[in-house]
Structures are given as structure tokens and as C-alpha cells.
Subunit: 152 residues, 2 copies
């Protein structure tokens, strides 16, 4: 599950924070040839260590100023209730992430909307899904840290 050597780890560290680095730039930093770096990255993708490469946008610039975390509690935890909730919730474009959780509620959703009016519209749609007991909403005041890189 982790047969990566030092060079692999360093490549992943670099690409996690900046995937626009060229193979040449990486080869300088890691004291390897361009061909070696290229082959390493090819394998890291093929083996699934790198799932995808994406552009991260400025959420305020694209008019998603309101981020909410919504805690959802379901009526019961039968396989049917769980999977039908999951099936429906992923359809909402506002839902960027959805995690099933341990603890006093069942799911955490990360919601991105333009403003509170848009969140309200979403909330009404969400809260009327079958088998939902409660939805608690918490809103982001400010981002202290916002990273997609895993600490490796």
C-alpha cells in the first residue's frame, strides 16, 4: 500500500502543491534525470497514487461566497435509507462533499452557494428528502487554512 521511496514521496509532495511544475524543474530539485522523473510520475498515475489533477478556483471570484457544513441526521440506518439518501444528495450541485460519519449525526455535507438566499433554497430542497430527521447548518466565517495536500 505504500511501497514508495524517497523520490516518489518528494514528487507527490511537489505535485500536491503545484502540478504545473515541469519534469525538468522537478528533476533539478530531486537530482534525477528528466526521463526518470517522467517514468516515476507515469507509474504514480498508473498505480493510482495520483487520482487526478485539477484547477483550484478562487471561490469568491466565482461567486461562491457562502460555504456551509450541514450535519444531517436520518430517521433510521437501514441500508435502504442510507443508500437512497446518498443517491439523492450527490445530485445537488451545491454539495461538494458528503461524508458518512460516526457520532451524533450521520452525514456531513460541504455546501457552496452564492449567498444565504441560495442556501435557503438548497436547504428547503434538502430538508424535504425522505427519512431526514434534522439538518443543522454551520457557516464559514473565515478560512484559516485550506489545503488539498495530504501530510506525507
Amino acid at each position: 500500500m505504500m511501497d514508495l521511496d524517497h523520490t516518489d514521496i518528494e514528487i507527490l509532495r511537489l505535485l500536491q502543491t503545484n502540478a504545473e511544475l515541469t519534469n525538468k524543474e522537478i528533476s533539478y530539485k530531486l537530482h534525477k534525470s528528466v526521463a526518470t522523473i517522467h517514468e516515476r510520475i507515469r507509474r504514480l498515475k498508473e498505480q493510482g497514487y495520483i487520482r487526478r489533477v485539477v484547477a483550484i478556483l478562487d471561490r469568491k471570484k466565482v461567486d461562491k461566497s457562502l460555504i456551509a457544513f450541514s450535519h444531517v441526521l436520518l430517521k433510521d440506518h437501514s441500508a435502504n435509507t442510507l443508500s437512497s439518501f446518498e443517491k439523492e444528495v450527490v445530485k445537488f450541485p451545491e454539495v461538494m462533499e458528503c461524508f458518512q460519519m460516526t457520532g451524533t449525526f450521520d452525514f456531513i455535507l460541504r455546501i457552496a452557494t452564492t449567498d444565504m438566499d441560495a442556501y435557503h433554497i438548497f436547504y428547503r430542497k434538502l430538508a424535504t428528502l425522505p427519512n431526514i430527521t434534522t439538518v443543522q447548518s454551520f457557516f464559514v466565517l473565515s478560512e484559516t487554512k485550506s489545503d488539498t495536500a495530504y501530510p506525507i
Copy 2:
């Protein structure tokens, strides 16, 4: 704040889900020349719509099987207490995200660790920061949806 035309929006949509598309591939999809796409992307970066391009790793493959959301409540909300907490919490490599929140607690942290032992070690370090009242931990059982793309 959003003087983007249809072509800009489509470029951002595409790059949010796959930043490895070549300018040529994008130019096919959007019926524009390679030069035009190139100039558009250059401007989207320069103007800050695209903050960065990153590789997204498979967290289990890089041995971060345990993801937690930790809710932190502070003793008070003086500028000093808030900013010194923020200053310290961002130093933890396990903390991928930190948001100041509205509601019944002050911060949400997203924590990535190898296992519960590693989380426990982190938890003890976190809980001993000054001015913390409570830390509540919730753990991810499964990922239903996991997206970095904003709905635009």
C-alpha cells in the same frame, strides 16, 4: 467580480475536473482556436480565478485512512485568543483545513492521519493549546462525494 463569458466558464468547468486537458483538446470542445484558449487561460490565472493547479492523491494509498472533523470551542473570542489559536493550529501537518464558524462552536478542522493512534497523538497536542474549552471529534466512515469543483 464575475465578468466571465460563456467560454471562460466552460474552461473553468473543464479545468476544475481535469487540468491535464491540453489546449488543443479544450479548443475542440469549445470551438475556439488553440491560441484563443491559451490566452483565456493565461488571463484566468493572472486575474486569480484559477488559484492553483494541484494533484489529488488517493488518501488510502498514501496511508491517510482516517479523516476526522474536529469541532473546537475556545474559552473566549478576543482577537488575541482567536489569532493565537489560528497561528498555532495551522502549524499541525495533520490539519488540512481550518475554518472559523458561526454557531455552537468556533472552528472546524479537517484532520488526516494514518489511524486512530496517530489521531490520538494529534488530539493530545491540540487539546493542550491554550484557551481551548472543548474538542469534539467526528470520524469519516465513508466518502459519498468528494469534489474540489465549485458548481459554476
